[in-house]
């Protein structure tokens, strides 16, 4: 008996994630970490882990894991459920957003959600893969951290914690949206786009099918270069997560956790950090509108 989970089936993508590895952008290391941070933290707390413990981010389900020892798991993200296959072939169904006890030898199956994209599976004790620069997160851009899960991947599980799990009564669950309006803080390069505030307020964009953990590309009205900036080239500069970058074709890209630490196209605005997690769940074809707001840096 080993305290581990073994991958027996895999869907489009499943990654080990935690709170990420902030603080290394100056040497080119992305923050990485769970795209839907609140969902990840909630899953951890449901099984009695600290919110920054390592768990799994499962894109569109398809994942099955055999437990080497009895463990407690919880799935969050879009509403749904998981299945537990017993050794005798019987299956039971369990809801998401609650702690589920799994016996040694049982197989936990994470099906594709009916809405949204990414589920977060926590296991009591957390995943004990090796840390890289203080984090256990996979990083799809730089390749740091554990490789994407494959059939046969063995995931060590840490010792159970003494933290009381949060109860499930307080957890509200709603379907992932397919249309959102998000607050966008204009700048730092809003002046590079012609009438940035007006165009961003008026337009509706569609989530392109090419999105990944680096960024989500939006299709819609082109954000054109301001006349005063035409032909000018911006030198690469640091980027934060949620930056909305405007490449020459005018179709904006919203940068997510695995974004490059610097970029050379103007950033017209930054999605409010409290609203960024929704981009982890927006399916291709979803619609995005912006509420642009002026933000000034604080005075000393």
């Amino acid at each position: 008996m080993t305290r581990e989970l073994v991958v027996t089936e895999i869907g489009p993508q499943a990654l080990v994630v935690d709170g990420g590895r902030p603080g290394w952008a100056h040497i080119g290391v992305p923050t990485a970490g769970a795209l839907d941070g609140p969902a990840h933290a909630l899953a951890q707390r449901l099984v009695g882990n600290p919110p920054g413990a390592a768990g799994l981010e499962v894109l569109l389900g398809g994942l099955a894991l055999r437990a080497g020892e009895a463990v407690t798991v919880a799935l969050t993200g879009p509403p749904g459920g998981l299945r537990v296959r017993r050794g005798d072939g019987r299956e039971r169904v369990a809801a998401s957003h609650q702690a589920v006890h799994v016996a040694a030898g049982d197989v936990v199956v994470v099906p594709a959600p009916g809405t949204g994209l990414r589920g977060y599976l926590a296991v009591g004790g957390g995943l004990a893969v090796d840390e890289v620069l203080g984090s256990r997160s996979a990083d799809t851009l730089s390749g740091l951290g554990p490789a994407p899960l494959e059939v046969g991947t063995r995931l060590p599980v840490g010792p159970p914690t003494a933290i009381p799990p949060i109860g499930t009564g307080a957890v509200g669950v709603s379907a992932a949206p397919d249309a959102v309006r998000v607050r966008l803080h204009l700048g730092p390069r809003a002046d590079w786009v012609d009438d940035a505030a007006g165009r961003l307020r008026a337009g509706t964009w569609t989530v392109a099918p090419t999105g990944d953990r680096v960024g989500v590309r939006l299709e819609g009205p082109a954000l054109e270069r301001a006349a005063a900036r035409r032909g000018e080239e911006l030198r690469s500069e640091g980027l934060v997560g949620g930056s909305v970058q405007v490449p020459p074709d005018g179709q904006p890209v919203v940068f997510l956790a695995d974004h490059p630490t610097t970029g050379g196209y103007p950033v017209v605005g930054v999605v409010d950090p409290a609203e960024l997690a929704v981009f982890a769940q927006l399916r291709p074809g979803s619609s995005v509108r912006f509420s642009p707001v002026e933000t000034s840096p604080p005075d000393a």
Partner: protein, 213 residues
């Protein structure tokens, strides 16, 4: 010095040149290392900007503003401790002839100029361990390729605009490639090492001709 918003939890300091970036970047990094900027997570110098982030702690940016008001960007920091790194290069890059032609030189002239230059790490970014090296001879300051390559092998040595650089790992990229690190070159990025990046701001870099081209 202009200070631009980069969302509610970060600001972007815009500066006149690389020396000002070095001065402001070093002042912020030193204050961060001293523990004087609680809540600040990243200080990211680039070509003409320094990004400062304080995720979840936007009030921390007030202390950053106060610090910036007291920094003289014309005073270049003393980074004597950053040291010197010599990198052996096999000059057989795919773009060596292109770089030579645009410089109006022979390939040997390019190698002589590249190995004769004393470069300084201005800042890091793009990929783990990638360093932007300032001090490239003017004839080697050449534009990026029109079409980036989807896959540049680890260790490739290139030039782009005012900077030289070495790709620490295989990645896409648009720099003109003049060579690659020799097998005995030091490792540019090792997450188990402290610091993980070999080339940190202020480090002096010299390239050595490891022959065979």
């Amino acid at each position: 010095m202009d200070v631009l918003p980069a969302g509610p939890e970060a600001l972007l300091v815009e500066l006149g040149d690389l020396d000002e970036v070095a001065a402001v970047g070093a002042a912020l990094r030193d204050a961060l290392d001293r523990g004087d900027l609680p809540g600040v997570v990243d200080v990211v110098p680039a070509a003409r900007t320094v990004l400062v982030t304080a995720p979840g702690a936007r009030e921390a940016l007030r202390a950053v503003r106060a610090l910036l008001d007291g920094v003289d960007p014309t005073v270049v920091p003393d980074r004597g401790a950053a040291g010197t790194v010599e990198l052996p290069v096999v000059y057989d890059g795919e773009d060596l002839e292109l770089v030579a032609r645009d410089a109006g030189w022979s390939a040997d002239d390019v190698v002589a100029a590249h190995t004769g230059a004393e470069l300084t790490v201005a800042f890091g970014g793009f990929a783990p361990g990638f360093a932007y090296l300032a001090g490239l001879p003017e004839a080697l300051q050449q534009p990026r390729l029109d079409t980036p390559r989807p896959r540049i092998p680890s260790g490739s040595v290139g030039v782009a605009g005012e900077f030289g650089g070495v790709y620490p790992r295989t990645s896409p990229g648009g720099w003109r490639l003049i060579g690659r690190l020799a097998d005995d070159a030091p490792t540019l990025f090792d997450p188990d090492r402290d610091p993980p990046a070999l080339l940190v701001p202020g480090t002096t870099v010299r390239f050595r001709d490891a022959g065979r081209r």
